[in-house]
């Protein structure tokens, strides 16, 4: 397990992300005091698959919206929506905000255009998978995780 740096002034002690091992690819895990925060942190873990999030400036905002039949599919949809924006806008994101309602997920991501010299992007995520996919509450903490195909 690799504990990555906590991000953001609003992040509580509970809010953090990490990667977990998968032989061929990489697992992203977000933790927070709410499901939405865990989703935000899972997306931070996704950024950290590509680059050190501290090198990314939160300059431009992109809004995202997704819907899914259950909360686990909502997590993969959310991460896939972020991957889609990264790929088509050639952006990396430094900060995320998620709101989950009955109608689905409303999210925002702040970031900037990829700068190869500064970000040294390691690898391009292809998609969030259903492998090791789980969204759960454990002892008052929300955990959102899955393996990302890179």
């Amino acid at each position: 397990m690799t504990n990555c740096a906590k991000w953001g002034i609003e992040a509580s002690a509970m809010n953090r992300y990490e990667h977990f091992e998968h032989r061929a690819d990489i697992g992203v895990r977000g933790m927070g005091s709410t499901c939405a925060e865990a989703f935000e942190q899972a997306a931070m873990a996704l950024t950290a698959v590509v680059t050190d999030p501290d090198t990314v400036r939160a300059q431009e905002m992109v809004e995202l919206h997704c819907e899914a039949p259950d909360v686990e599919l909502l997590l993969t949809d959310w991460l896939n929506a972020v991957i889609f924006e990264m790929a088509t806008r050639h952006m990396l994101f430094a900060r995320y905000e998620v709101r989950i309602t009955d109608g689905g997920l409303h999210g925002a991501a702040w970031g900037e255009a990829v700068d190869v010299a500064r970000h040294h992007p390691a690898v391009e995520p292809k998609g969030a998978t259903y492998t090791a996919l789980s969204v759960r509450e454990e002892g008052g903490q929300w955990i959102a995780e899955c393996v990302v195909d890179v």
Binding site: A24, P69, L73, P121, E124, T129, T131, D149
Partner: protein, 476 residues
């Protein structure tokens, strides 16, 4: 992997009998050392695949099998539509039609050696690689559809490469049955500026030397000899394929209960071949195959332009182009009769034996070339399909080395710059936009490709023809 429960059929074949919900046995081709080193997940996943409706004969795993998504990577499974067979997005994978293309250069290694640094630098400039890189081509909606319909044939018509290339590509460079209309706008948008790009991760373009010949006769038929320089390109259908995989994985998961399919694992998401979702996936997946073939065709032209500039007079005819993430309709002999099957190969290379009509005439007697990528510091291999392989696993073989450790573990162990310097000391020039990417892909992070290839050869899946050693590697 724990080997209890497996029947050892031979030194290279292990069979897990059909129990519980398994409709057919699971069969792994590997030697004992590879079996023991395999993830336990391979056994679980191969057994899960054996539970899917309409699967015939067995669920297979190749010697390089490892933990995948639903299907093991290195998995092969064939389904009969008439028996309620399914098509699975997870059984093809996210990088639809990822594959390897190998080109002759007509040059010997001493002719290239003196130009190696210039060549590496020129290729690094010419070949868009890594995250955020874009190709020189922007396709309109109509052009995108024409590309998805025409594959490498479309690319040749646009001036990328020649007609002669097409004969050396699976399906003659154009996958029939593609339906651009089944490809979402999102998938097309993701591909808009990614034509002619390598991608990242384990994708590469490599200049290689033929280091060893194992079968002189087949090598001669393939047109390769010791010390020849060849170039291999490993990449796939880029963002378009990833998006199609993502979308249909969800769709198939959601619609599976409607078709009465119980999924032992959500990643096994599938749909009956004879269903609307199944048909639309096949149409979109075939369009993605064409995207991959067109992509490798465009990269080939960029490569040829660099060689023409630095080594005037060199020609780079295509040896072969073969994919390892596909689902294809093929005829196979089963219980004494010809059956039309939907053969999924996820991280497994098609390996048709001598005489198969789908092999280009010039290579037909030798068997289909099977191109196996290694890691950037070790070796790649050329194998040939065998008659026996047609019976073993529907004419399939391994596809590469497979990772031995996670990306994080690799990053902990190596620094990108050190890996590049160490390889340069051994005469292997690496060019990559990302030091971290190089560290994650360090040669030591991969299993020994030679052991995998030896097992494939000894199991009879494919025959070893030549070993290729890297000279220059453009890493995505």
């Amino acid at each position: 992997m724990n080997l209890s429960g497996f029947d050892r059929i031979s030194a290279y074949e292990w069979r897990l009998p059909a129990t519980g919900a398994m409709r057919v046995p699971a069969v792994i081709y590997a030697d004992e050392a590879l079996m023991r080193a395999m993830d336990d997940k391979v056994r679980e996943q191969a057994a899960n695949v054996a539970m899917l409706p309409g699967i015939v004969r067995a669920s297979y795993a190749m010697p390089d099998a490892h933990w995948g998504y639903g299907f093991p990577i290195g998995g092969v499974a064939a389904f009969d539509a008439e028996e309620g067979g399914v098509v699975s997005a997870g059984g093809v994978g996210f990088d639809i039609s990822c594959g390897v293309r190998c080109l002759h250069t007509g040059l010997k290694s001493d002719e290239v050696e003196a130009h190696k640094v210039l060549l590496a630098d020129a290729l690094a400039r010419a070949i868009p690689a890594g995250l955020g890189s874009t190709g020189g081509l922007r396709l309109s909606g109509q052009e995108m559809d024409a590309m998805l319909q025409g594959g490498a044939r479309w690319a040749v018509a646009q001036g990328y490469g020649t007609e002669a290339d097409l004969a050396r590509i699976e399906e003659g460079g154009c996958m029939a049955g593609a339906e651009p209309a089944a490809v979402s706008d999102h998938a097309k948008k993701r591909q808009r500026d990614e034509m002619g790009t390598l991608g990242s991760g384990n994708h590469y373009l490599e200049v290689q030397r033929v280091a060893e010949i194992f079968d002189e006769k087949i090598a001669a038929a393939f047109g390769i000899a010791a010390d020849d320089v060849v170039v291999s390109i490993h990449c796939g259908s880029r963002g378009l394929g990833h998006q199609i995989g993502t979308e249909f994985l969800k769709q198939m998961t959601v619609t599976a209960p409607r078709h009465g399919i119980v999924l032992p694992d959500r990643e096994l998401a599938c749909a009956p071949i004879a269903s609307d979702t199944g048909r639309r996936y096949l149409g979109a997946m075939r369009a993605a195959i064409n995207c991959a073939l067109a992509n490798r065709q465009i990269l080939t032209q960029l490569l040829r332009d660099v060689f023409a500039q630095l080594l005037p007079g060199s020609r780079l005819p295509l040896l072969y182009d073969v994919s390892h993430n596909t689902c294809k309709v093929e005829e196979h002999e089963l219980d004494g009769r010809r059956r039309r099957l939907y053969v999924h190969r996820k991280g497994a290379t098609r390996a048709f034996g001598p005489g198969h009509p789908d092999i280009p005439p010039a290579l037909r007697e030798a068997g289909q070339p099977v191109l196996i990528g290694g890691s950037m510091g070790t070796a790649s291999y050329i194998l040939a399909g065998t008659v026996r392989g047609m019976e073993l696993a529907f004419g399939s073989a391994c596809h590469g080395a497979g990772r031995a450790m996670s990306r994080h573990e690799a990053m902990r162990r190596w620094r990108g710059r050190e890996v590049v310097d160490e390889l340069a000391g051994r005469g292997i020039l690496i060019r990559s936009p990302s030091w971290r990417g190089v560290a994650e892909e360090a040669p030591g992070a991969y299993k020994d490709v030679s052991a995998v290839v030896d097992a494939a050869d000894r199991a009879g899946l494919a025959r070893k023809v030549a070993r290729l050693a890297p000279l220059v590697c453009i890493k995505g």
